[in-house]
């Protein structure tokens, strides 16, 4: 593939998808009797237009990068992890729990590995259950992860509203030590936004996952199982092992997302702290085509829509932005393969 063709194939499909979504968005806004220009302007001003809004976008994108990577890793192994929602919550809860148990006054850098381990373990265990059930008994991971969402979220709800909580609230006591600094502490314009240094952890995770998937033997095996499990097995890959490990690691990555709120923002676990971020992770992974770079970009897009939704809430109802998100997902998942096919067809006819 020539350089030009590669660029065309990378830029044109998402461009078409976004333009399609934008036109549908215009029509939606018009149906509410508002001016599309004004609404989109407000949406941009409230997100990328000022440091606070941008900080909020970064904050929301951080959680979505984790859940997107988690779902993306599963997809690469041919597994559909619908459980990121509860894995995220479990990771956040375990980190908060460790935070209550740790003595006060430990430097943040020393605590960080403990928190990372706790969050990864929390999410990882929730992810490993469907993994083992699939590898051992062939139980379908979609069913098991959906059901586990209910079980885990109900259990965490119970714990935070009845056992480990501050009276009259739905959150646990604050961490005693090891809270991460917010971006606002280092760069004054970000003041007040929830963006925090967990974003570095998200970038590191994305890079590490890219390296693991495309540069290691295990990653190759994982992708081979995802493409064609029977062929992979014939080639000597332990498919059952790859399956449960992939789901466990997927859960662990989703669990790390909980740190964004617990360690970086509020410093406690709160019931429903990231409602929907796990499910939105599925969209992020699909739109990002399960590639770390794509996932980071898709996470920024969905975070912008989510924060922008608050900014335009005065003009159009929140549900309009939810619909717009769904339109983006549909547009990307239908138009990207279609545009690719067209591009390749055009190239072939040029070559002949």
């Amino acid at each position: 593939m020539s350089r030009r063709a590669a660029i065309e194939e990378a830029v044109l499909p998402p461009l078409v998808a976004l333009l399609l979504a934008a036109v549908v968005g215009d029509l939606l806004i018009l149906s509410f009797g508002q001016s599309p220009g004004a609404v989109f302007q407000l949406l941009l001003e409230g997100t990328w237009g000022n440091a606070y809004g941008f900080g909020q976008v970064l904050y929301k994108a951080t959680t979505l990068v984790f859940t997107g990577l988690a779902v993306g890793l599963g997809l690469r192994a041919g597994l559909f992890n619908i459980g990121a929602e509860s894995q995220l919550a479990a990771g956040g809860f375990c980190a908060a729990l460790i935070g209550i148990l740790l003595p006060a006054g430990i430097p943040a850098l020393l605590c960080l590995p403990i928190y990372v381990l706790a969050a990864a373990l929390g999410g990882g265990i929730v992810g490993a259950v469907p993994g083992v059930l699939k590898a051992r008994f062939g139980a379908h991971e979609v069913i098991v992860t959906i059901m586990l969402n209910f079980i885990v979220l109900a259990l965490l709800n119970y714990l935070t509203s009845a056992k480990i909580h501050v009276p009259d609230t739905l959150h646990t006591p604050e961490l005693k030590s090891g809270a991460l600094p917010r971006l606002g502490d280092a760069f004054a314009p970000f003041h007040g936004s929830a963006a925090n240094s967990t974003i570095l952890l998200a970038i590191v995770t994305a890079v590490a996952l890219g390296w693991y998937l495309f540069r290691t033997r295990r990653g190759f095996e994982l992708r081979a199982v995802g493409l064609q499990p029977h062929a992979a097995e014939y080639a000597g890959v332990n498919v059952a092992g790859v399956t449960w490990r992939a789901l466990a690691v997927s859960g662990a990555i989703a669990g790390l997302g909980g740190l964004n709120y617990v360690l970086g923002y509020k410093h406690y676990y709160e019931e429903g702290f990231a409602t929907g971020a796990g499910f939105l992770g599925i969209a992020v992974a699909l739109v990002g085509r399960s590639h770390p770079v794509g996932i980071v970009l898709a996470a920024l897009l969905f975070a912008t829509l989510s924060q922008g939704g608050l900014a335009v809430n005065a003009l159009v109802p929140k549900q309009m932005v939810d619909v717009l998100q769904a339109v983006v997902i549909l547009a990307v998942s239908t138009s990207v393969p279609e545009v690719r096919r067209l591009l390749r067809g055009a190239r072939r006819s040029n070559d002949s």
Partner: protein, 345 residues
């Protein structure tokens, strides 16, 4: 390839054309010196027929009667609450309201950062320090609290007086202190008029889901009606819709909560324990307009008409005059302070 580029060009042209469309009714940027009001709703959002809608009604009245300009934000996830409050405060609203106890921490934080903006929190939960002293909210933050136990006391007395049974029922949503206030007041009201009556009291769960589970509400209510209960008071959000359903099915009575819920099951709703969220919100906006807003704790009880029970044409047949007189007497006793209604277990 060319077709594709033409397609992209057409999409772009349509998009730009649509961007320039400006419908006649579209919102104009605010001008003038009316009071600017920002409201962030609880997760449940509008349409809950309870306190979110109550706050909306109050704001709507302020729009009509005081010429206030109101902006609403409906948050999606945990971090949206602070983001919503902050967006409104940064836009220079005169007063920013958070609806629901869950806004307590965020409001306290924002009130400190924006000392020139007024804030108010519905159901704001006032904390206590280590010595049990009440921590006052910041000077620009009004905590709008309701004495639900007083209203519950009256409907408890009513349930015992017209129930024609030694057993009365209570169905709560989530088992936590805010709802205990309803339960405790209700039981006190029952015992005040019928010391040997028994209150069957059950909760739908321990999580916020317990406020959205009509199936569970119906199940609990049916079992209570079967045990000889004739009147059930629910404080359980939309779980209560199941209680009304059970009342309709068994031909017995239920008592609504927060707003007048007569329409949920006409003929089977004895009364409703109403909470005047709309009045509290309207008052807060009015005080801002008249430049006499002050922070602090505002308690809305029977004396302030912040809570009460419904008595109108819809349900007057269910409440005999003697019972009505007895309730009004109890109400006067509470307002005068001769009856002190407990609020905690």
């Amino acid at each position: 390839m060319r077709k594709l580029l033409i397609f992209v060009g057409v999409l772009l042209a349509v998009h730009i054309a649509l961007l320039l469309v400006h419908p006649s009714g579209a919102a104009e940027p605010p001008t003038g010196d009316a009071v600017d009001v920002g409201i962030v709703f609880d997760m449940g959002g509008r349409g809950d027929k309870s306190f979110n809608d109550g706050a909306y009604l109050g704001a709507e009245r302020a729009e009509k009667e005081l010429g206030a300009r109101v902006r609403f934000i409906e948050p999606g996830e945990g971090s949206d609450r602070e983001a919503g409050l902050r967006l409104l405060a940064a836009e220079g609203m005169d007063i920013v309201l958070g609806v629901g106890f869950i806004f307590t921490d965020d409001l306290t934080q924002l009130a400190k950062e924006y000392p020139n903006t007024d804030f108010a929190g519905v159901d704001f939960s006032v904390g206590q320090d280590k010595n049990g002293r009440i921590i006052q909210p910041p000077a620009n933050l009004a905590a709008l609290k309701f004495r639900e136990e007083q209203g519950s006391f009256l409907v408890g007395a009513l349930a015992a007086l017209v129930g024609n049974s030694k057993k009365v029922g209570f169905v709560g949503g989530m088992n936590f202190p805010l709802i205990h206030k309803f339960e405790v007041g209700y039981i006190a009201g029952v015992k005040a008029v019928c010391p040997d009556c028994e209150v069957l009291s059950q909760y739908a769960g321990v999580t916020p889901e317990a406020f959205r589970n009509p199936g569970k509400g119906k199940e609990l209510a049916l079992s209570q009606y079967q045990q000889g209960v004739n009147v059930i008071f629910h404080a359980s959000g939309s779980t209560g819709l199941g209680v009304f359903e059970a009342a309709r099915q068994t031909g017995k009575l239920a008592i609504g909560v927060d707003a007048d819920q007569f329409n949920e099951a006409p003929g089977y709703v004895l009364t409703s324990m109403v909470k005047g969220v709309d009045n509290a919100v309207y008052d807060a906006i009015k005080r801002v307009k008249e430049k006499r807003f002050k922070g602090g704790i505002y308690q809305y009880g029977l004396a302030e008409d912040g809570v009460g029970y419904v008595y109108d044409r819809n349900n007057e047949k269910l409440i005999p005059p003697a019972v009505r007189a007895r309730l009004e007497a109890l109400k006067r006793e509470i307002i005068a302070g001769r009856i002190v209604v407990p609020s905690t277990k």
